[in-house]
């Protein structure tokens, strides 16, 4: 479980997040929807511990960040590192031994090529593969469906369902509501840093 209590974040006088209270339960998939600048990425960065904030973020395992797989909107890659080395780097970081990488290459990526030469979608798939192989307890996926082809979107949806079955917490942001409605159990709408509405799965059709 992840509990976000009275979370606020400001950059100078600009209040990006205002008094956010959210609970994320195990075995559930959550969507965060909001227009550009609504504070989705900042919320994710606060949960990940990449930003200082006011308020509290609690999890059953601490530090939360050591059990969190974070997929950034635009994953960063070194210029001369191969796909397999990227995966190894991230797995080493979490002390997760990596065996038989080829058989776990779910997106069939050219792992022996430099990751920086991958297309946008391939980069996202590589970053996702790496955080999945880290075997995290929590997953935050910032715009995971952006730039990814339809076939990979289907695989991605299946992966998210599988993570739910494994009792993981998955938090996703997306502008594509249909992909969220296919995968999420609950969607939080964010506007100007404030949660304005929470929608349960049976209410998605009303949105």
């Amino acid at each position: 479980m992840i509990k976000v209590k009275n979370l606020s974040k400001s950059y100078g006088s600009n209040n990006v997040l205002k008094d956010i209270n959210l609970d994320f339960l195990n075995g559930k998939v959550y969507g965060i929807v909001g227009e550009n600048g609504a504070g989705k990425t900042t919320l994710f960065r606060c949960i990940a511990g990449l930003e200082d904030y006011d308020g509290e973020i609690e999890a059953e395992v601490t530090p939360l960040k050591n059990h969190l797989g974070l997929l950034l909107t635009e994953p960063f890659f070194f210029s001369k590192i191969t796909g397999s080395e990227y995966i190894r780097l991230l797995c080493n970081a979490r002390n997760t031994p990596i065996k038989d990488m080829e058989s776990r290459n779910i997106f069939d990526l050219p792992l022996n090529q430099y990751a920086s030469t991958y297309s946008t979608g391939m980069k996202k798939k590589l970053a996702l593969t790496a955080i999945l192989l880290q075997e995290n307890k929590y997953y935050i996926l910032d715009e995971p469906f952006n730039g990814v082809d339809i076939q990979s979107n289907i695989i991605l949806t299946e992966i998210i369902h599988k993570l739910r079955e494994l009792n993981k917490i998955v938090i996703i942001s997306s502008h594509i509501f249909s992909t969220l409605s296919d995968t999420c159990d609950e969607i939080h709408l964010l506007r100007k840093g404030e949660p304005i509405k929470t929608v349960q799965k049976n209410e998605f059709k009303d949105l």
Partner: protein, 305 residues
């Protein structure tokens, strides 16, 4: 094209201002520092010319980075892009070339300028299907990336060792070993994206310890052929060789610590000045290493709580 160079100048001034230094003072200091360091280098070693060449080449390779060059090519088109690259490379290599010329290394001086112009036509393309093999693939990334960027410099260092041993020049042999360590130091010059620090499930002291351990093991691995050959050829000077190795490794440690002391920013003038002071007077390392260590832990604690 003029706008591009004006923009570079403005960006440099902004960076200097961010460091809290008046740009004019910084430029004067740079010139004075360059003259002072180069004169010091020439006063302490007869192989200063080689050091100058290696430093110049490693600085030049930075301008051959693919993404940057692709951007320039898209913005300026082929003809202007070539001109920009040549002007940049000549500007970078000119101080080194003048220095070599001043010290009567005429051929090296002209060769450096020629290489600068040739390199301007090259872009070290990362978009090859072929990845350069590296012995460091198990622990990415500094040595994996660094080795691929500088693999052509290592044979030069080994060749210098062979020359040193064949002509019986102990100092040249030590210099070739120092060169390998210097190449390793350059792998730690730039800060990595915060994601690659944040990802580690360790506390800051362990993170630093792991970085230093990997750096030490891999640098020793690269320098090992030189060390073994030197000890075999100069068994009576084994203690001296070990001492030089330890001192050079401590410069690797101070560089790693300086990198994280400045993190997430790139190493700036304060770190560079302290390292330069250690080069001038190595016992200072005893104070500088703990200082950088303390600062690194403080900076890393933000991401590795």
């Amino acid at each position: 094209m003029k706008d591009y160079f004006l923009l570079q100048y403005t960006m440099t001034n902004r960076k200097l201002a961010d460091w809290g230094i008046n740009p004019f003072v910084a430029y004067v200091l740079m010139v004075v520092g360059f003259i002072f360091l180069s004169e010091y280098l020439y006063s302490v070693t007869e192989f200063a010319g080689y050091v100058v060449l290696v430093v110049a080449l490693s600085v030049l390779t930075n301008t051959s980075e693919t993404q940057r060059n692709n951007f320039l090519l898209i913005v300026f088109g082929n003809s202007k892009y070539r001109k920009i690259r040549i002007i940049e490379n000549v500007c970078i290599s000119l101080p080194f070339s003048i220095l070599l010329f001043y010290h009567n290394a005429f051929i090296e001086s002209i060769a450096l300028l020629t290489v600068a112009v040739v390199l301007a036509g090259l872009s070290f393309k990362a978009n090859l299907n072929f990845a350069i093999p590296t012995p460091f693939y198990k622990k990415p990334f500094e040595f994996t990336v660094g080795f691929r960027n500088t693999f052509y410099l290592l044979p030069l260092a080994y060749a210098l060792t062979v020359i040193a041993l064949s002509v019986g020049n102990f100092n040249l042999g030590i210099f070739s070993m120092l060169l390998v360590v210097f190449i390793s130091l350059t792998y730690y010059a730039k800060p990595e994206n915060e994601y690659f620090v944040w990802s580690y499930a360790v506390k800051s002291p362990q993170f630093i310890f792991n970085k230093i351990k990997t750096g030490t093991v891999y640098t020793t691995f690269l320098a090992l052929p030189i060390l073994i050959a030197m000890v075999m050829f100069y068994p009576l000077k084994a203690d001296e060789i070990v001492l030089f190795t330890l001192i050079s490794l401590s410069f690797l440690w101070v560089t790693i610590l300086a990198k994280y002391a400045a993190y997430p920013n790139q190493m700036g003038l304060p770190e560079a000045v302290l390292i330069a002071m250690c080069v001038y007077y190595p016992p200072l390392l005893i104070a500088v290493i703990p200082y950088f260590y303390y600062k690194s832990i403080k900076k890393l604690n933000i991401l590795l709580k």
